[in-house]
Amino acid sequence: MQSQFSNKTKRLILGILALIAIVSIVLSFNQQTSKAAGITNINISLTNESISAAGVGVTIEFTPNTPITNGSVINIDYDTAFTGGASLTDGDISVTGTNITSSTESSIIAGSFESVLTTSGTVTSTVTVTIDNAPGLTNPSSAGNYQWSISVNIGGTSVNYDNGAGLAYVGDANDVNVTGIIGSTLDLQMYVQDSSTPLVLPYTCNLGALNVGAVSSCSYDIGFSTNSSGGATVKVAADGQLRNGLNNIAACTGTNCNGDGTTGVTAGSAEYGFVISNTGTGCSTTPVAPYGTADQAVPLSSTDFFSNNTLCDGAASGSINKRIEVTHKASINAATVVGTYNQLVTYTIFAN
């Protein structure tokens, strides 16, 4: 009796272990990538890519794998989210290409039709199947890539088939290939910290009188505006160290200005750095690491400082919460040479 109970327990444990093993094997599958295969160079283009557009013509281009001969049958299947296909007639669809004399369309239903080809020789170059835009098809009601499948029954003998598929892009109401000027605007404005008051020229951030017992700091806000859907990037560069002639207050060193063993600018250490002290909200602004983490040296060459990836109107006077706040900090020690120290920092904005 004891032995039977023990076996059951063993089986239970083994069963659980087997289950864990199966799940582990399944989970350990690596990411796999694959690509479409079959007929090459398939290109599906629509005369209008807008959602729900009516009277849309379609051009399907492909290069045969096997030379197409007389009597070959091209079967086109497409997503029935395109409507109006059942109303097409032979005259609304044509097939052209080198050595293709004519085509006869049949089996026309929603999402599918066939073209029987008459050729004067083998067809090896680009074949173009065209659906006229009158009456044409009506595009799907939601954006997406929609599959169009092509099958070529070589010679109509039902022995050799070439197959392939392409995607039609639906969902862009603005289908103009712009080659001229894009009417977009870009703006960058520096403001008094947490205020609607812009800085006054010459723009400055005043660190005040430095002393060994404390860290001196000054802050300001940077607002930017872009109507580019890709957003904008701001770079920063200094013309040199915070300096008084040949004397510098040493720029931050270490990952987070921790070269002296303490993170950030620390009193009595003779350090200088700056940090994005507030990223604001509403413009999806992201500081470039590590400027949003802790005090850093102001870069001496133009370096990405922060960016966003959407529209933003942070340069407008009322958009206080959308702005970036920057804080400069400096400390001195007993050996810091007396004098006034200064530096020029340039912010450059461009559309992504």
């Binding site: 109970f5 990411q31 796999q32 990538t33 694959s34 479409a36 599906i44 890519e49 954006a143 997406g144 890539n145 995607l167 039609a168 892009y169 969902g171 290939n177 712009v178 080659t179 000027i181 894009i182 009417g183 977009s184 605007t185 870009l186 703006d187 960058l188 404005q189 520096m190 812009p198 800085l199 006054v200 020229l201 010459p202 723009y203 400055t204 005043n206 005040g208 009188a209 001196s216 300001y220 505006s225 859907s229 957003g231 990037t233 013309d239 133009s302 990405d304 340069a315 006077s317 006034t340 200064n342 530096q343 020029l344 920092v345 340039t346 912010y347 450059t348 461009f350 559309a351 992504n352």
Partner: protein, 332 residues
């Protein structure tokens, strides 16, 4: 008394001076130009500077040209002062009708600039930039101060159609998928928050503008979600790789909720199993790009809950079994 009056007048003068010179940023339009240019061909364009409504008094604005390069796989550009000896740098071909102007509230002032193809640039897309700044200075401000300067860039993209070697016959876009993968160390996720990375290389010499498409999420052969690819309409510069980031999220999922909020949502809207993300960059891409990546969603909260229930049931079962066995053994 006279000193006091002088001081008061000085104060009034200074505050008046300040109020006459409040700086306001100058919106610039457009932020980008795209056009073609053949050898010896000249073109002229306008850059508009807008005087904001809150601008009081005159605002001096300074305009100058820089060279531009695309760097990195993200948004970065490099701007530099063009070397006048480099005649193949199109920044040296640009002439401005003015280097500075004054702007008041409501003004729309136009800077006219022209460019002539001197025939020395490489075929394909060449780059330059026009900069607008309120401050031309590079001098330092007295006192312990950090002087600040702003620059607003309008980018110029010129497609050189011909040069001194003749017509450019090799102008092309040629996009190639370098990577379509999950931006994660694992291919399993406990909730529908799945990040994707797509890296596309433009091996051609023309800028590939705004490649578009979709990432379709499938489960069991059924499409359950469509994400727009490149909603920001970003371009891929010649001979560079561009990295795109997309994320599939369930908009209703309580990502910021507590454990029980998330557990309740996962039970109500279960997502479990094997998923496929199919990328199709089918517009403004030559050739079209297709790829697939797979992943799992394993909702550990539900699994933990059911695991606890299962183990508890099993333990109760074993305890009862063992108790019965002891009783039987005791009788024997």
């Amino acid at each position: 008394m006279e000193k006091f009056i002088v001081l008061v007048l000085l104060f009034v003068f200074c505050t008046g001076f300040v109020s006459l010179n409040p700086a306001r940023a100058i919106p610039v339009s457009p932020d980008k130009y795209f056009f073609e240019l053949s050898t010896n061909e000249s073109k002229s364009f306008s850059l508009n500077l807008l005087g904001k409504e809150n601008l009081t008094g005159n605002q001096s604005v300074f305009i100058y040209v820089l060279g531009m390069k695309k760097t990195g796989e993200e948004n970065d550009r490099q701007f530099y002062i063009p070397d006048p000896k480099q005649e193949n740098d199109i920044a040296n071909w640009i002439e401005l009708n003015t280097n500075s102007l004054d702007l008041k509230k409501g003004d729309v002032k136009t800077v006219t600039w022209s460019i002539k193809n001197r025939g020395l640039a490489n075929c394909g897309t060449n780059l330059a930039a026009i900069v607008v700044s309120e401050s031309p200075r590079s001098d330092l401000i007295p006192g312990n101060t950090v002087a600040l300067k702003n620059e607003i860039i309008s980018q110029i993209h010129v497609q050189i159609k011909s040069n001194n070697n003749g017509e450019c016959v090799d102008l092309k876009y040629n996009t190639r998928l370098i990577e379509f993968s999950l931006d994660s160390k694992t291919n399993s996720f406990d909730q529908p928050q799945v990040p994707f990375i797509t890296r596309v290389q433009n091996e051609g010499n023309l800028i590939q503008r705004s490649p578009k498409g979709f990432i379709d999420i499938f489960q069991g052969g059924r499409k359950i979600e469509t994400i727009e690819f490149n909603p920001g309409s970003l371009d891929i510069y010649p001979n560079t790789v561009r990295r795109f980031e997309n994320i599939w999220v369930d908009k209703n999922y309580p990502y910021r909720g507590n454990y029980f909020d998330q557990l309740v949502y996962e039970i109500r809207s279960p997502r479990f199993g094997y998923y496929e993300a199919r990328l199709g960059i089918t517009k403004n891409s030559n050739p079209e790009i297709l790829s697939t990546v797979s992943f799992w969603i394993i909702p550990w909260r539900i699994i933990t809950l059911f695991g606890i229930i299962l183990i508890s049931t099993l333990l109760v079962f074993l305890i009862v079994r063992y108790s019965n066995y002891r009783k039987k053994k005791g009788r024997i």
